[in-house]
Amino acid sequence: MADADASPPQAGEPISEQEALRRLRQSEDSSQQYYGAWWLGRMRSQHPEAVPLLQQALRRRRARDSGEGVEENAVARNAARALGKLAPAAQAAIPDLLDTLQDGDDGLREAAARALGQLAASEAIEALCERLASGPAVAGAQQANSPRLVEPCEALLEALGDIGVNEPRVLAVVKPFLGHESPLIRSAAARTLLQLSGEARWGELLVDLLDHPQLQVRHAALMDLGAAGWRPGFQAIAATLAENSLKLIALRGLVEQGSGDPGDEALLAYMDTLL
C-alpha cells in the first residue's frame, strides 16, 4: 500500500507496535532496531515509550570510523527521522537532536536538522546558522572524497524555513546560498527565504527552476513551492514537465500552506484533473 518513497528500509512482515518497541529496545541486532525505529515514525506511534526509546537510540550513535561498521549510526539516523515524524509529541528530544547536530557524521546532522525543522524548534536556530555561516564556499563545498557537501546544506536551510523565525541574522546566513553552484541548494535557499519573508522574488526564483532541464531540479522546485504554499506559482506548477504525483504533492502544499488567489476551489478542481 505504499509508493517507493514510503516503503520500509528493508523487507519485513507487518508488525505490531509492541513488536516495534521490542525491536528497538533490544540491542543484539541493530538491523532489528533500524526497522523498529522506522516503524514507530512511519506509523506515528503515540506510545509513551516511543520517544524515550528513540532518544536512547540517538545517544547510542558512534563516532564515524570509515574502517568500522556504522550500524549504530544507521539506527540513530532512523531514530532522528522518526522523532521528526512524531512532532510535536517529540519535544522532549530537542536537546538530544541539538547534540546530534554537532556530530561528526554529516548524514546524522542532516537527519537531526530535518527533525528539528519538523519540531519547529526555535532553540535550534543558532546552531543551524553557525553550521551555515561559512557560506557556499566552505559549508557548501564538496567533501574531498565524496559528492556530499561539507555541511548538509539543503537540510539545514530547510530547517530554518520550517522553524519560520524571520530575523535578519537568519536571512543573512541563508541569502549567500542563492549563489551556490547546485540548483538544488539554490532552490532550498529560495524556499526558506520565501517561507520566512513571503516576498514574491523568492517564489519567482523557484518558478524559474521549474524550467530546469534536469528532472531532479524540477522535482525539488515543485516540492519547495508546495512547502512554501506559494499560490502565485500555480500556473507554472500546472505547466511543469513532471509526473502528476509530484504536482499533486505541490498543490496540496498550496492548499494547506497558502492563501489568496487562486482560491481553494480552483486548486482542488485542478487536483481532480491530475488523478
Binding site: M1, A2, A6, E243, L248, R252, V255, E256, M271, L275
Partner: protein
C-alpha cells in the same frame, strides 16, 4: 492518403521508432488519428516502459472511448507497468466493462498512483444505458470499494476516494440508502481524524456541500 492507409503508415512508423523521442512523436501522431484500429497498437505502447509515450497513448485511448476497451482488457495481466497505464485509460473512458479491473486496482494495487486513478474511475462509470437492476448492482460494487478505500494508507488515494464518492453519489437517487452511505464516507474523510491531511478534509467538505445543493 485514405484514412486506412494513413493509420497503417503511422502504425508502421511507430513500430520502427528507434529512440524514446521518436516513439513519443509516433505515438502522438497515431493517437491523433482518432481511429479505433489504432487501439491495439496504442495498448502495446503502454508496455514499452516509456512514460512520455504511455501518457500520449493513454490520452489517445481515452479519446477513442468505448472503442478502446476491448484492446485494453486483452492486456497481459503480468505486465505490471502496462496494467497501471491501462487502469488510467479505463478510468478515463468510464466504460462499465472496466469495472473488474478498476475494483481490483483500487483494492490491491501496490502503487498509490494506480489506486488513485481507479478511485476516480469508479466514480465516473457511464451507467445510464444499463438496465436499472444492473445499474444498481454496479453502483453498489463501486460504493463498497470506495468506502473500503476511505482508510487507504496514502493521502492521495483518500483524496481520490472523496472525488469518486462525490461523482458516484451525484448519480444516486436522493434519500436512497446508498447515497446516504456515500455521504457518510465523505463525512468520515471530512473529520480531522488522525493522519487525514487538511487537503483531504477540504475536498470531502466541498463534495458534501455540492451534494447538499443538488
Amino acid at each position: 492518403m485514405s484514412q486506412v492507409s494513413l493509420v497503417a503508415a503511422r502504425i508502421a512508423a511507430l513500430q520502427q521508432a528507434g529512440s524514446a523521442l521518436a516513439l513519443l512523436q509516433a505515438t502522438q501522431e497515431l493517437a491523433s488519428c482518432a481511429d479505433a484500429s489504432a487501439a491495439p497498437v496504442l495498448v502495446e505502447v503502454l508496455g514499452f516502459n516509456n512514460p512520455g509515450a504511455a501518457v500520449a497513448a493513454v490520452k489517445g485511448l481515452i479519446s477513442l472511448g468505448p472503442a478502446a476497451v476491448e484492446a485494453l482488457l486483452q492486456l497481459d495481466p503480468v505486465n505490471y507497468g502496462a496494467r497501471a497505464w491501462a487502469v488510467r485509460a479505463l478510468a478515463g473512458i468510464g466504460d462499465v466493462r472496466g469495472l473488474e479491473l478498476l475494483l481490483d486496482a483500487l483494492g490491491s494495487d501496490v502503487a498509490a498512483s494506480v489506486r488513485r486513478a481507479a478511485a476516480k474511475g469508479l466514480g465516473q462509470l457511464q451507467l445510464d444505458e444499463l438496465p436499472p437492476d444492473q445499474k444498481q448492482d454496479v453502483q453498489g460494487q463501486c460504493l463498497g470499494a470506495l468506502l473500503a478505500a476511505t482508510s487507504d494508507g496514502e493521502w492521495v488515494v483518500r483524496y481520490a476516494v472523496a472525488v469518486g464518492l462525490e461523482l458516484l453519489a451525484a448519480g444516486l437517487p436522493a434519500g436512497s440508502p446508498e447515497r446516504q452511505q456515500a455521504q457518510q464516507g465523505l463525512l468520515t474523510l471530512q473529520e480531522a481524524a488522525d493522519g487525514t491531511p487538511p487537503v483531504v478534509q477540504r475536498r470531502a467538505k466541498l463534495a458534501l456541500s455540492r451534494l447538499e445543493l443538488q
